[in-house]
């Protein structure tokens, strides 16, 4: 009996010794605290824009992003023949829209932006991230962002001449995006546009609705192709302008782009069926028929700067 007990004790000792030599790292990996609590989907899109429209991507906290967005003329105007070649397929057409914007992120979920374009057109906006795609402790399949912008027409145009309020229009968008895998992301974009005064003022509606979809597919770490389609749902047919002649807008907006991330900058080259610079004009005042020659070349170029320090130096 005594012997057996002794053996048992010795055996126990060995067991203890053996378990002590188990890999510590395995303990750590098994431990829940070693795992990321909220595994957020990052880089759903390369840039804060899909192409024309906002993406669910936000400028990072404490960062200022500067973006220049440029749209050239139509690549092949109907009936213009060789002039189109001389105009270098729109590059040299004398009609181009530039959109310059600054975006700052005081919080990781909030971006504030200001932009200027064309003929005294000014815009400012706020972008709120409501829900973030994640796995881990919580499972959320999509990222939802509310984009709300204010457009001010400061030009000497014919209609918004009486009251300052007439010069304002608003765009509210819900951006619902999902990163399906490392390469493929998709986003749904319902929009609501409100004009304080109806453009040209006659027989039109103040409220325009539109629905859009955008996606990107990564080719390499640094390049991706992107696609965007939006359709205006109301208020584009048989409108009357000031001289009471009929105007029809084109409800479809199609864009195809190529994203290139150089490390410091993000370039987005694209073909788009509307060469307007602002989202409101693209979604609710598009005059370009969906014809290949009507597409125009454009690019977005953005760069972000770390303004506020978020990292503590040891």
């Amino acid at each position: 009996m005594k012997k057996i007990v002794l053996y048992l004790i010795v055996a126990c000792c060995f067991l203890v010794k053996a378990s002590a030599q188990d890999d510590l790292l395995k303990d750590l990996v098994k431990d829940d605290s070693a795992k990321v609590k909220h595994d957020f989907a990052t880089a759903t899109f390369k840039s804060t824009r899909v192409i024309n429209m906002q993406s669910v991507e936000m400028t990072g906290a404490g960062n200022l992003q500067f973006m220049i967005s440029h749209r050239f003329g139509q690549i092949w105007k109907e009936g213009k023949g060789w002039t189109n070649v001389a105009q270098l397929f729109g590059l040299n057409a004398g009609a181009a829209n530039t959109y310059m914007s600054f975006e700052y992120a005081p919080k990781s979920w909030l971006n504030l932006g200001f932009a200027a374009t064309g003929n005294a057109q000014l815009e400012s906006w706020a972008k709120f991230r409501l829900v973030r795609q994640q796995s881990g402790a919580k499972n959320v399949p999509v990222t939802v962002v509310l984009f709300s912008s204010l457009h001010f027409d400061g030009s000497d145009g014919p209609s918004p001449d009486d009251y300052a309020w007439n010069r304002f229009s608003y765009l509210n968008q819900l951006l619902i995006g999902r990163k399906f895998n490392d390469k493929f992301s998709l986003q749904l974009i319902p929009s609501f546009i409100h004009y304080n005064i109806v453009p040209y003022g006659i027989n039109n509606t103040n409220n325009v609705f539109s629905i859009g979809i955008g996606g990107r597919y990564k080719l390499t770490h640094k390049t991706a192709i992107s696609l965007e389609y939006a359709r205006q749902l109301n208020g584009y047919k048989d409108l009357l302008d000031e001289s009471a002649s009929a105007v029809n807008y084109v409800p479809d907006l199609v864009s195809i782009g190529y994203d290139w991330d150089t490390g410091g900058h993000i370039f987005q080259f694209f073909f788009t069926s509307s060469n307007a610079a602002t989202n409101i004009a693209q979604l609710a005042q598009n005059t370009n028929d969906l014809r290949l020659g009507n597409f125009s070349l454009g690019f977005n170029l953005n760069r972000s700067y770390g303004i506020k320090k978020v990292v503590n130096t040891p």
Partner: protein, 184 residues
């Protein structure tokens, strides 16, 4: 007789406890700046969510830090870090396991600063490399803090840095790790 056996078992049990004197912590801080110019603040990155384990009797240590917990001053660089360089979805963490050399358990009971060193293996981006670096241990009351400054060569870990970025980055990335253990 029975008493002796009971005593023996109790003794073994106690030994066991002593033997298995391990400390765990979630207070691991890792900082680095890969830029050649260390004053370039955009490139600074840090994680406050490293986890560590220390087995006193055998001087064994292990440390793990999830890649996605690193935050940069410039959010775009953080995205590149995860997406292009470290491929954090494929390789979610960096790991170290090894031994402390010159470490004794008495050091934990007496306040002071001890210069020891550490040897082991680091796994990052799916590649394991030998690791050796001096460690400073500071014991103050019930807190033991390990400071370690070391360098890592990104190329050795299969991290591909494009030619355009290379001139900006140091060949050896200096890394500072601070791991705090609460002793009881």
């Amino acid at each position: 007789m029975k008493k002796i056996i009971l005593l023996a078992f109790t003794f073994i049990f106690m030994m066991n406890l002593l033997n298995a004197q391990t400390y765990k912590t979630r207070d691991g801080y890792v900082y680095f700046n890969p830029n050649k110019d260390l004053t370039h603040k955009d490139y600074e990155a840090a994680s406050k969510e490293g986890t560590g384990i220390l087995k006193v009797e055998t001087s064994e240590v292990a440390f793990l830090v999830p890649m996605k917990t690193f935050h940069f001053n410039n959010a775009l660089l953080e995205e590149h870090f995860n997406e292009n360089y470290l491929e954090s979805n494929k390789f979610p963490d960096a790991r170290f396991s090894g031994k402390l050399i010159g470490f004794t358990k008495d050091q934990l009971t007496k306040d002071g600063v001890y210069n020891i060193s550490s040897e082991g293996k680091v796994t990052m981006h799916g590649v394991t490399k030998d690791f050796k670096a001096p460690v400073k241990l500071e014991v103050k009351g019930k807190v033991a803090t390990f400071y370690c400054h070391f360098t890592i060569k990104a190329e050795e870990h299969g991290i591909n840095i494009p030619g355009l970025v290379k001139p900006k980055l140091a060949d050896l990335t200096p890394i500072d790790a601070t791991i705090k253990f609460q002793l009881n």
